[in-house]
Subunit: 148 residues, 2 copies
């Protein structure tokens, strides 16, 4: 399973405005080309070494931003006839690699807490949380070496 | 200057879903009654002891959530004929007092970093950042005892 760019996944460099009393960090604007409407904004934390995997959304497009700590994301594509079928893409996000990760529907996503303290992601999603559009499989159902 | 509820300010208790590998924290949904449309989502940090004050928006409604650290917010109302004119409202937000603070246009806002490590707020705003709808005055222009 090779590591390459997954079709529909977009990484967008985000601005950090440095201010002496505390910085301002961009996340998402209505005018951003990746913006597909607003449904829900929520945080997820992942403790050091812990893995949350695997989950996919049938309808939701995720926009993931990591303002605190460091999180490793792994996206696995098993969409039939996708140009990146059977490939995965990995990316570590943090304040030092400050990108927005846009994840399209129908790919599998897992993530792992890398930082020793708080690891926090914000998801700006185009639809509200709905368990009916979410699928989960156990960690070992998709072969990936998380110790990498 | 008395501390009381400012007209148009809304505090909404938010859900924290406790999960062994890391929690999920609600921020804002499209169906929330305080949701006035999506324009911009950005983070602001404020270092321990630092104060960012005073600023007001002529059009933006702010929805402030503090998922990391602790931030003290002070809202001052000088709107003529407001039922809370010349009053202020203070609230400390953190994971231990996890509310969304909705701030209407035309009131003055200041905030201070209380936690010793990272203090992070998310603003889910109804319009995009626009310096033309923002006013600032120096800290000492509105009398408030920040050492409280």
């Amino acid at each position: 399973m090779g590591d390459r760019q997954i079709k529909g996944v977009v990484l967008t460099a985000l601005k950090i405005i440095e201010i002496a009393d505390g910085d301002v960090l961009h996340a998402m604007k209505k005018s951003d080309s990746e913006f597909k409407g607003f449904g829900d904004a929520y945080f997820s934390t992942v403790n050091h070494g812990c893995i949350k995997a695997w989950k996919r959304h049938r309808e939701m497009t995720l926009n993931l931003i990591v303002p605190v700590g460091e999180i490793k994301f792994v996206i696995y594509d098993d969409r039939i006839d996708s140009s990146s079928e059977h490939h995965c893409q990995t990316i570590n996000l943090s304040i030092n690699n400050y990108y927005r990760l846009t994840v399209p529907p129908m790919v599998w996503l897992g993530f792992q807490g890398i930082g020793v303290h708080t690891n926090l992601l914000l998801n700006v999603a185009n639809i509200e949380h709905d368990p009916d559009e979410t699928e989960r499989v156990e960690l070992d159902k998709i072969r990936y070496d998380w110790t990498n």
